[in-house]
Symmetry: C2
Subunit: 272 residues, 2 copies
């Protein structure tokens, strides 16, 4: 492109039902959210565009506040569709399980992966009877959970720690230190228990491993006080099993250089 | 069967995600909840058994409190599986979008269609942004709704009336008089508005026609005071359009001769 100027970077707020996806990121096998977003962008702009996202969610994991970025190339191409109309233009080209909730201009240095914090919610269905309407969105743990014990255990995790005990076995990478800013366990409507966790970053499967351990405490199979010693041990083998993916949802991503007020359409503060 | 005694009638509390069903009742074309229930019963008991249900829900309509009955034939067959284990035994033979929440013995005169009252919930998503996670369970009406105007309009419908104005065009049947015992419109979590309606019975598509009219009032396209005159007119043409099926869920069915306390497993009081 002879007239290509600096790339016009756009940030997208994306929501998806992860049930029928192999995760956000493109891969050799399986349907990825990235693929359907890039296909919609290619159809709209007539050229191949790469999407980057704040979080590579796993297969079956949902999002109501995923943030993705795309460089639209030259200004002329960018100007064809006003930014406030981009969500609807993309939605018309996306499958029903993915929606673009908002779009805004982002600075050239914006990288969605450099988030100041991410917030996830994990939904547990804590009663004997299953619920077929929620089967894609909750982990049905059967009987009741001791929410108070879970909340007490959660307190031990808040703060800056080495989270090796809750990292997926075999996970590589330099530092395992992350700062969990909030970890709240509470009884919610319709027999659900919600675990909301905010951190400056997460190790692979960290939320699901934390939830798996909290559920064992909620079932009375471990003491709430075990949480601190599991964390201190840094040994994955001491923590609980990994919670299944369908209960997990990426709720919100925040950026230090961005007060989050610039979304053309209001972000969706939704749990479902 | 030489030793067939009086039939053992069992009542089942059934929940289903109606998205991939053509409705409860068996029909020539399409997958019906009745079919998958009867197939599970046939597999379990080795004989063809007919299921009757309180409500013939339409394609795409959900249930968390459907009541069905089945005659299990002779006592020996009935005794093979203890009643409290019947839900799990059936769930293992049902697709993931149908679950039997509870089972109990019913008197020989029990007819699930002779309900004292039924309660439905209709879920509206009242914000500009769609939610792909809830697309199967809400009607996305776009912008905000005037819940107060809708609640005021709803009051006009409560009581014993001829509901011809809200019956599907071409609906036959003798009396169009029904008693609406409760009709509540309220703002719910996550940008939803819920319409809960309880009546001694419903005309075909009555809830969806009531909701379609209430949404027009909530959008400011009609006055709340119009509701009373639409009802009094008995003319379907004056009411609003039929709301789409996916927002509707059968919540509960009550029987006069049954305090509802006999469910082997606790009924699920769930909205999702």
């Amino acid at each position: 492109m002879a007239d290509a100027g600096p790339p016009w970077r756009v940030a997208l707020l994306v929501a998806y039902d992860g049930t029928e996806f192999a995760g956000f990121q493109s891969q050799v096998n399986g349907r990825a959210v990235q693929d359907v977003l890039e296909a919609a962008l290619a159809d709209l702009y007539g050229t191949t565009l790469r999407v980057r996202a704040a979080s590579r969610t796993d297969a079956g994991v949902h999002a109501v506040g995923q943030v993705a970025s795309v460089d639209l190339g030259d200004a002329a191409r960018y100007a064809r569709i006003p930014l406030e109309r981009l969500p609807l233009a993309l939605d018309g080209r996306l499958p029903a399980d993915v929606r673009v909730l908002a779009a805004r201009a982002a600075g050239p240095g914006f990288d969605p992966r450099r988030a100041a914090s991410k917030t996830y919610r994990y939904r547990l269905l804590a009663r004997p009877a299953p619920c077929p309407l929620r089967r894609r969105f909750v982990w049905h743990v059967g009987g009741r959970l001791d929410v108070e014990a879970m909340a007490t255990a959660a307190e031990a995790v808040i703060g800056r720690h080495d989270f090796s005990a809750f990292a997926a076995a075999g996970a590589s990478g330099a530092s395992r230190v992350r700062e969990v800013r909030a970890l709240r366990v509470r009884a919610a409507a319709d027999d659900e228990v919600h675990v909301d966790v905010e951190a400056d970053g997460f190790l692979y499967r960290m939320v699901r491993n934390l939830v798996g351990t909290l559920v064992e405490i909620g079932r009375g199979r471990r003491a709430a006080s075990d949480m601190a010693s599991i964390l201190a041990s840094r040994r994955r083998a001491l923590a609980g099993a990994t919670a299944p993916p369908q209960g997990l949802c990426l709720m919100e991503v925040r950026y230090a250089d961005d007060p989050g007020a610039a979304w053309v359409r209001a972000p969706a503060a939704s749990s479902r």
